[in-house]
Symmetry: C3
């Protein structure tokens, strides 16, 4: 396996195009279109008849708006008449009216007014023909979700626990990740990297550069203190929703276990602290082949977040990173409303080489900023849209089992879908009610661990120490 | 016709490439090269031996300069020797001298000095061979015009009325329009859009968002008060210079008529106020396939403009928009001297959503800014240079008769030119002395209107109310 | 010859692609890879375990670092595991450690640690396979050099005199030149342009624009006073290292001779003042097909530079230009650490048209800024990477003999290399110990000049006047 792209005796495609490209008609684009996807934050679209929000998902330019009755529309970004951008439109009287000639569309994309002509006898058919794409939208868990697939296959929302907690127990955010979705998502199911990329250094006693990951200083990152073993033993089981895997790290007198779920098509659940359950995870929604809209959630089931906890999250130290909400122009010319990270490729993520020698492994401050510094600066695959890492010479090892498994599962589902087989099992809502956990235990085998602490659902939550991968 | 790209029973090409692409050798590029085109403002090139001006027209990089004797040169942007940019050249002693090796070119592009060699016996032939493209240039109507076509087909300047009025009765300007020329020009022959895009709102009486266009507040835009009927009846007649069309809007007890001309290859004459003749119109000169140099003129025949009128024009409320004169780098690498609009795609044209709810239809301030907000943000046609709108799904209706007619006429002229038939009739100068008008009348039919008020020339100008489409 | 791309009866290839493209596997890329090339300044990499420097040479993304023992590594920019950028890595304990998963590479690119796996039995082979490209690096003459060719063909460093002078007698610098390397290098072997581009004007006596090059005002540019004859007689001899050529300019009562060397693959030695030997020259190292890293050296053999001399060099008046050291993002996405010139294409190199009329030929201040103003703004060759001048219509004359000869020699060496013939003779180190000179003399023929003042090596240095081409 080491140094090859294959795993478990099953061959991977030697091209990653099928997994990275997400436009209409692509294999992975088709698979994504079977799932409800986060599209924007509910907090961005609270006002009836308010300003539309420009988004792009799976290479489709869209606008989201909330109409007079509070309904949410996620529709094509352009009026079909002369292709004027609907963002500048008037959101009024239960529809978005193009300002060029006054054509109007409801939340479903149905054309409801063509005021620059005398209505012909065929006016109703004409409006029907002039309708634009409108995708079903739902609000849940502080996010607005969209389903962009065939109507007849519309699933339920995934039954994730945090979709039902009170809002004061939930914190959600989104931000722009400037790479293809796959290399971002792969960083999420990569437990070994937290022992390096996100580690803090021991106070250097002798002035020499410490090379060993060391305990973190922030209360929220105490899990990293336990993750000093950088070569965890990883065991992985496929599930219908994706997979669950356990990583076992040596402590002096026990094991530090982290159990995580990767959920289709691109969710990652992140283990909480060992002694205080705080659920959290991320979703990686492709904007296009070169950009990703990252979403994070964090929730408690027992009590509201304290202000100090919210402040910590808003500081950008973990997830989300520090951001500024502002428009961002994509290479093909559409401008989206984005949360653009402050620490960026342009400013080298504010790397501080002195801190890298004395404080933490990278010299970069925030955990997500550490991730992005690498994932956004990988070499581009020649001949493809920028932002897709050139994997032609990548060198995978045992610790990449989750990455290889995700590729394998996605490849299988894409192939099945091309052959007409819908991912029906993956779409069953209830199985998404899983929790990642972490624990100190002397159990040696993942299967024994599963037997002891519950099946993959982990209905009962053991204790744990909070951390972020 | 509705929802199709055809009109009048004649088929259009299903690709618009022939009409949008303008480089040397393209059908539309060839057609444009039969006409005199505005190239820059006369006010930019007043000084003999002054700074050259960088322009690009029809995908050709050019510099314009005024020589020691006051002659105007519009020549290739590069010295043929080693391709050094002539913009940095020395404009001196009746020629532009490249600063690399001192080669010198006159206003016709003729090489007149090669000082870095000992003149050989063949010096005169050598200089002849080293000459660069130089296009005939003329100054008229406050603009500098260029003719880029075959010498033997050089026409007269179009006989537009404003080319002969005293300078204090004329106001001209130019600015950068960041889209293909065709979608810009099409917005000019689209009378129905003024009832929407450029309309002001009634003062909202009850706090609700008004959806009906309403009277304007500015003196210059009173024509829009009359254009509340958004579904005008349009009648169009082909002419040798292009077409003339009348649009009839219902008033309570009469009709509001607007008569406009579209003149080859891309001029639009705009109706003046109903009771005060102020001629005005625009030209859309392609820079390349992605950018357009827009020119506007405005003139009176009776008196100089008052300072308040000039101030209003310079404010950017109508045409031209607010601009800053500065260099602008085009994607292929040539830098042009442009009037770059202040309200732009980057700043969402300063849209004010509160104003959109209470003041005018768009929330955008200037009339041209309203146009550009839509035309510069249309979706690009994949696989083509950016800035060309993707028309593959456009949905034309009756009100688009002028747009469809312009495409039809241009397509015909392009085809004829490809078959060797010059657009001789279109180039007859005298027919361009037409005026657009507007009028309140109870005449119902355009042909009756034409009989009553003159043939297409409209030598006698009826009263009208000023407006801008 | 005039007006053609051929010279001396020998045909040139009608495409310049072979000489301009430098990526791996291209003919010119292969030839460049036979020579030691300057990669960065030694002053940028003084600190052991300091910050890596991002460079790109011949289309390869690289990082340079100095390890704990002071050794220099120039290695691939990406970790082979998941392609994370090594720039963010930890430079510690004799290697550069990727911060993603802690993989570590020594100065030769050898992988020496894979800490995120339990070492397998095959650990040594695994690390061997996980090694990255590492190129031999040397420090000499204030520069760090790299050899990117086949190990078995590694030559000695070129035996240039300045590589051995004490550091206080040497001044070196580098900067970003934003064009293909060839048009930059060609400007260096073009003696006639100094009579124009770099000339100063006579004080205008009558207010008219002077058109004749005139004496310079700065002490360092007095050579230009002598170079008023813009049509020098040029004689050129091929050598194994490239060529030597003499240019003879008429003075009233004698000749002004400038003897220069062009040394493979892209060095130019520049004549010193006639009465004070100061060696100087430049190298043009391709970053990619669109960008060049220019290096300049200047040295004395007799004494340290005075502070006033260093100040003059640091002022940017000659070489290097004024620069700011900062990251620069290349079009393909890699960010390099560059010395970015302050006077640039964006600001028209601070051209001052009043100065152009009264002070110097260009109105641009610095000598290199004058060069770049032309070379960076030449028209791009369609269908190729930007920055490569379109030579399809260039019009060469007698004064371009050195340019034509360099193309001819490079073409020959590229062809020979493709046929398996290494440029062995060109790589002999000792022949690079040549000096350019300038002199006032009544000798008429270059061959007589060579007989009188030494063979091509010019071991004894006659007097001369300093100048910069």
């Amino acid at each position: 396996m080491d140094g090859a792209n294959g795993a478990d005796g099953e061959a991977f495609p030697d091209k990653f195009e099928n997994l990275t490209r997400v436009g209409p008609g692509t294999p992975m684009g088709n698979l994504f279109r079977r799932f409800w996807l986060p599209a924007l934050l509910a907090s961005e679209l609270t006002e009836c008849d308010g300003t539309p929000v420009r988004i792009r998902i799976l290479c489709e330019d869209l606008v989201a708006f909330r109409d007079t009755e509070g309904r949410i529309g996620i529709v094509s970004a352009y009026c079909p008449h002369k292709m004027a951008p609907l963002f500048f439109g008037r959101n009024e009287d239960c529809g978005l009216r193009c300002v060029y000639h006054g054509w109007k569309f409801d939340v479903e994309g149905k054309c409801v007014d063509i005021p620059n002509i005398t209505p012909p006898d065929t006016y109703e058919e004409l409006k029907e023909k002039a309708s634009i794409k409108g995708y079903p939208a739902r609000e849940a868990g502080g996010m607005i979700w969209v389903y962009m697939g065939p109507k007849e296959h519309t699933p339920e929302l995934p039954g994730m626990e945090w979709l039902d907690v009170p809002s004061e127990q939930l914190h959600v955010a989104r931000w722009l990740h400037r790479s293809n979705w796959l290399q971002a998502a792969e960083g999420e199911i990569d437990t070994s990297h937290i022992s390096f990329l996100h580690s803090e250094l021991d106070p250097p006693s002798d002035g020499a550069s410490p090379t060993t990951p060391a305990p973190g200083k922030t209360p929220e990152m105490t899990g990293l203190k336990l993750a000093r073993d950088g070569a965890p033993v990883i065991t992985l089981h496929d599930t219908d929703y994706g997979f669950v895997y356990g990583s076992r790290r040596d402590l002096d007198d026990a094991y530090y276990w982290r159990i995580s779920q990767w959920m289709l098509p691109m969710w990652s659940a992140i283990p909480p602290p060992i002694d205080d359950f705080v659920g959290n995870g991320r979703a990686w929604v492709p904007i296009d082949d070169s950009h990703t809209m990252a979403f994070c959630y964090r929730y408690r089931t027992d009590r509201p977040f304290k202000q100090s906890e919210v402040d910590m999250l808003d500081s950008g130290m973990l997830f989300p990173p520090r951001t500024e909400r502002r428009p961002y122009v994509l290479p093909h010319g559409y401008k989206i409303d984005a949360y653009v990270p402050t620490a960026s490729f342009e400013n080298d993520y504010f790397i501080d080489r002195e801190h890298q020698k004395t404080k933490n492994f990278t010299g970069i401050w925030g955990v997500n900023e550490q991730d992005r510094s690498l994932q956004e600066a990988m070499p581009n695959m020649p001949g493809h849209p920028p932002g897709i890492v050139d994997r032609s010479t990548e060198f995978l090892v045992k610790s990449d089992l989750p990455t290889m498994s995700a590729r394998r599962i996605l490849t299988r589902l894409c192939k099945q879908l091309e052959q007409g087989q819908e991912p029906t099992k993956a779409l069953e809502s209830t199985q998404y009610g899983v929790r990642a956990i972490s624990m100190i235990s002397d159990i040696e085998e993942f299967d024994d661990f599963l037997k002891e602490y519950g099946q993959m659902g982990f209905a009962e939550v053991p204790s744990g120490t909070d951390s972020e991968t």
